[in-house]
């Protein structure tokens, strides 16, 4: 009996082999998806697009003010109730989170860096040009009413 045959006699060996083969297939498929250049690089086309994305993220979110990153990778929106929504590119789509704390907001010239309480969502730095300072000031004002 060779080593492989001995391995097959071990409990769970069949499952381990099946898992290994499946892992190989998974990596091969992921490689193929990359090789075929699948995926997209969507950008926020403007304020109207950001409005639509905000409404999609929170049904009925009616953005009263919006600022879009210069490269279109993200946007920040505020509604009449003072809710702040952060929108960012996620793969071939967009994802959004409501900003419930200002702890993760930093201003650096024309760049506004924002992170939400959801660590999985990550941090995003938006190039908002001159609007960065305006939004930072606006967020500071709103911050007083945040928990």
């Amino acid at each position: 009996m060779n080593v492989f045959e001995q391995f097959l006699t071990l409990p769970g060996a069949g499952l381990a082999l099946q898992a290994l083969a499946s892992l190989g297939a998974i990596l091969a498929l992921a490689w193929l998806a990359r090789k075929l250049q699948l995926g997209g690089d969507p950008r926020i086309q403007g304020e109207e697009h950001a409005h639509a994305l905000a409404d999609e993220a929170i049904c009925g979110f009616d953005a009263k003010a919006v600022a879009v990153d210069r490269a279109g990778i993200g946007a920040i929106a505020r509604d009449a109730a003072g809710r702040i929504l952060l929108i960012r590119q996620h793969g071939s789509h967009f994802a959004a989170r409501e900003l419930v704390s200002l702890a993760g907001v930093r201003l650096d010239g024309r760049f506004l860096t924002l992170s939400t309480d959801d660590r999985g969502f990550g941090t995003i730095t938006l190039d908002l040009g001159e609007q960065a300072q305006v939004w930072a000031a606006s967020l500071r004002r709103l911050g007083a009413s945040m928990p």
Binding site: L15, Q18, A19, S22, L23, A25, I26, L29, A30, L32, A33, R34, L36, Q37, L38, G39, G40, P42, E56, A57, C59, G60, R88, H90, G91, S92, H93, F94, A95, A96, R97, D118, G120, F121, G122
Partner: protein, 305 residues
């Protein structure tokens, strides 16, 4: 009927090579027609979830089978190993799947496990393999094994359950438009299941069927796919991450955090009420989102075709 009379067929394992080939075929279709239908990182997460789910399922299969065998030993009838019993078992299992699936969307405890399948913003064949790792922990199998008490052999139940899972693979695609009218009326199809995976308000918590769409028509949860409503996929609060462990455990973690923070009299509600429920009304569930959308759009939505 003893277990020696019946041979369980591990249909899912045999189907894996076909799954791989069909995913490749769909990727080639996407390359030519719509490259954004696939996202390599999303595909990798989906497939890794599929592998983990298979391993988790294999590790817990013994306990599930033992529980089903115990029920079978206390059965009230004995179903023979004949063709009509297999069909009856499949239909009953599909009905059980409908209720398991509906509960999986309407009770947060079960949703914490099932949400994994819905976290992709894509809808392709790799999404079909995006399965939970925590189904056993959620005790979801209880919905499927009780026919053993009626007298269906556990191996028969496992086999038809596998066939149901394999059937559901092909409906996770945008490459297929609509099937013939008679087929759409009876079976779950890519069109019906696209609605199920949608986050559009009108489509939330609709079309729970496994193989037969008749259950949704019967129990009032059917929603036809509308050509004038482009579908967005995923969950109401999109995951925004390709992290595998975050995908697996995010809802469990969120649920535990909610229970921890909630006043004592509301703790159980975070376990048993629908996802999106909150004791202070600070969040919205699918019913409220859907109702508000319908009111805004004044839609006269036909439940049946």
């Amino acid at each position: 009927m003893s277990s020696s009379d019946i041979a369980a067929l591990d249909i899912v394992t045999y189907a894996i090579p076909a799954f791989v080939l069909l995913v490749i075929a769909e990727m080639i279709w996407a390359t030519r027609r719509a490259p954004e239908k696939y996202e390599p990182r999303d595909t990798l997460t989906s497939l890794a979830l599929g592998l983990g789910s298979t391993i988790a399922g294999a590790l817990s299969a013994g306990i599930v089978l033992a529980a089903a065998m115990w029920l079978y030993e206390h059965r009230v009838f004995t179903m023979p190993n004949v063709w009509w019993a297999w069909i009856a078992c499949f239909v009953l299992d599909d009905l059980n799947y409908y209720w398991f699936h509906r509960t999986g969307h309407r009770v947060r405890w079960f949703w914490a496990s099932h949400v994994n399948h819905h976290t992709s913003q894509h809808y392709n064949l790799s999404t079909a393999l995006r399965q939970t790792w925590t189904g056993f922990l959620a005790l979801s199998f209880i919905f499927r094994i009780w026919p053993a008490f009626l007298g269906f052999h556990p191996l028969m139940i496992l086999t038809v359950g596998g066939a149901n899972l394999v059937y559901q693979f092909w409906i996770h695609t945008e490459a297929v438009g609509r099937m013939p009218r008679w087929f759409e009326a009876v079976f779950n199809t890519p069109s019906h299941h696209r609605v199920h995976h949608a986050t559009n308000a009108l489509y939330l918590d609709r079309n729970y069927a496994g193989a037969l769409i008749v259950w949704d028509r019967l129990f009032g949860t059917f929603q036809r796919e509308r050509d004038d409503l482009p579908i967005r996929y995923g969950i109401v609060k999109q995951l925004g991450s390709f992290n595998l462990l975050h995908a697996v455990f995010h809802e469990w973690r969120g649920m535990v955090a909610d229970i921890w923070r909630a006043p004592w009299r509301h703790k159980l509600s975070y376990l048993l009420r629908p996802p999106g429920w909150s004791h202070d009304g600070s969040r919205e569930g699918s019913d409220a989102i859907r109702a508000r959308w319908l009111e805004k759009h004044a839609v006269t939505n036909q439940v049946s075709e």
